[in-house]
Assembly symmetry: C2
Homo-oligomer: 405 residues x 2
Amino acid sequence: MDIKIIEGGITAPKGFRASGVHCGIRKSRTKRDLALIVSEKRAAAAAVYTTNLVKGAPLTVTKDHIADGYAQAVICNSGNANTCNADGIEVAEKMAALAGEALGIPAEDVIVASTGVIGQRLDISPIAAGIPALTAALGDTCEEAAEAIMTTDTVMKSVAVSFEIGGVECRMGGIAKGSGMIHPNMATMLVFLTTDCAIAPEMLKKALSADVKNTFNMVSVDGDTSTNDMVSVLANGLAGNEPITAEGEEFGVFMKALNTITVHLCRAIAADGEGATKLLECRVTGAKDEAAAKTAAKSVICSSLLKAAMFGADANWGRVLCAVGYSGADVDVTTADVKFISAAGEVAVCENGAGIDFSEELAKKVLSEDEIDILVGFRDGDASAAAWGCDLTYDYVKINGDYRT
Amino acid sequence: MDIKIIEGGITAPKGFRASGVHCGIRKSRTKRDLALIVSEKRAAAAAVYTTNLVKGAPLTVTKDHIADGYAQAVICNSGNANTCNADGIEVAEKMAALAGEALGIPAEDVIVASTGVIGQRLDISPIAAGIPALTAALGDTCEEAAEAIMTTDTVMKSVAVSFEIGGVECRMGGIAKGSGMIHPNMATMLVFLTTDCAIAPEMLKKALSADVKNTFNMVSVDGDTSTNDMVSVLANGLAGNEPITAEGEEFGVFMKALNTITVHLCRAIAADGEGATKLLECRVTGAKDEAAAKTAAKSVICSSLLKAAMFGADANWGRVLCAVGYSGADVDVTTADVKFISAAGEVAVCENGAGIDFSEELAKKVLSEDEIDILVGFRDGDASAAAWGCDLTYDYVKINGDYRT
């Protein structure tokens, strides 16, 4: 089960090309706003979507397009979410049609996604005008597409791995955007995954649905579940492995490769949360069951008070226990231990539900690093879980106090 | 059902005295940190508490003390929550014993409350040393006690009303603290209510439990449910009315008086949320049932993104609909209307789930006021609800980035 991190992002797997251009949806000319990902062969496709009752029009169109388990391309714009618009579906269908036409594939094989402001009509003209440049720019690099899907993100998020299925080398890559309105539920942000591994659509769907529960659904930047969250994966089979059609060792390797990609992107998304200066990872151990561990871990990551304390490098661990206590998780808080760990060391602050003496100086050092692990240990059982988030900063307020202008 | 707002806070009802002193729990000498409320007669008593699994020791002691439905005094310190401490119960019992001794009443008739940092041992010495001054200061003014329970609050919160039960004038008063870690569930913050109305303990409990569901449980400053939330009420019967022992018209008047007090304090708590510059009230109408209306209203009030937008006076209404959509409320978002209203006017921004043209200039004016109403209208039925919160500001981050120092 050797999973190697490699270069190349979504274009690392065989037969995938990508591009990104500035077509004019965003006023800023320096930021690309339209992305395209294409497989040279029709690929098994799966996606998971937001559970928000308000759903972006592109999600409805995508769901329809991949109902048969296959797709060949992804088109995505940033700068406008195409959500809560009377003509949203029509515009999303038009995006697919224009991309399909330019690529010589059916519109029904195009996945559509949008991210940006909600409730402003998305004008199709800049997209129509930009598509020739977009298709002309298709190539082996992933960066342009990764940039084109960004909104308030400050860094591009991409990763790729190689793994072996039945002795054949396969590759998988992913890009993501996600900085604010990040608190996915059953899906997340925008994440596009590609792989050349041959796998049946139903197994691809199974792998993705199982994985997101422990990865993207355990990330929160601000507790707000977006209307446009989507994770999609295209598997074109060009690696040449014997297709995965059932559970077993090979499906296990595939799941492991997928999880390597998704955890990497989760951490990248949390670390680049709007205004964030620190990546927070809460690891819960010793819980009665996985549900309790996950509920507790996510509650800690979501606490505004704890997030602000982490920004200030303040070891205010009472806020950790408080967040566990109101989470609804079935845990025995009177036996909880709490520790903070970072590259600068580790500091235990609470044992058996009560505070212990600790060095404030060491705590300050530990919490001044840019990646902080918050460990919460129970004595209820042996289930564990991890959740990812970031600190709450002045810049989060600044970014969101005037997003539209 | 005439409810009149009057002066006097918790000492407005007959037979109640209060005081507040600086005893030394807080380092700052300018801020009182120990409060006392006493009824000259043993009073019917009821309280509701946090649902956080982590519960402050004072709550356990109070629950025990008012199990018989009666109490005569309240002692409360700020600066330390007496929570997650190995000797917490012992210290809370000692607070009650010292107060009881000084007042010549049983310790079992004393309600105990604490608010402040979690997980630091509460030293009983300054409290013991302060009690003589505290009892000596007992008087007819409410301000000293209202100040002594404050933490990061910037204003005192007190209110009183008069009402008639069977032709007899009764009075009720309340004080509250609550600025951060405010997202009560079944109880809230620290709120102490007094009334001279004669009412049976079981009816008092019934009134309080019913009221908090629509008032304190609908307030959120930061989504964090405290470990020490408590609302208590003492009813000493000195108004001389025929005691209320069953539901009916008089119980209705009592509920109305109680609701006038609690809504006032809810608004005061939300407006003084940590770092807040604006009071937000979300009113949902036309929902299928009360549960849907409440869930939707509270979700809007809790959205970090919306709260930041309100700070920036940005009419980013997509965030309102987004928060309704992920709330879990059973509503039809495709028929939702959204309006912002303030003293500066009113601006409709969304109709039937889709954006409409509006004047950005007017919206900016409306949202620049310090009290903003967010109206969300559905066409699902005739249930409605209100929730209270505040904007998310730089100062919230500042206050909570380094609370302990």
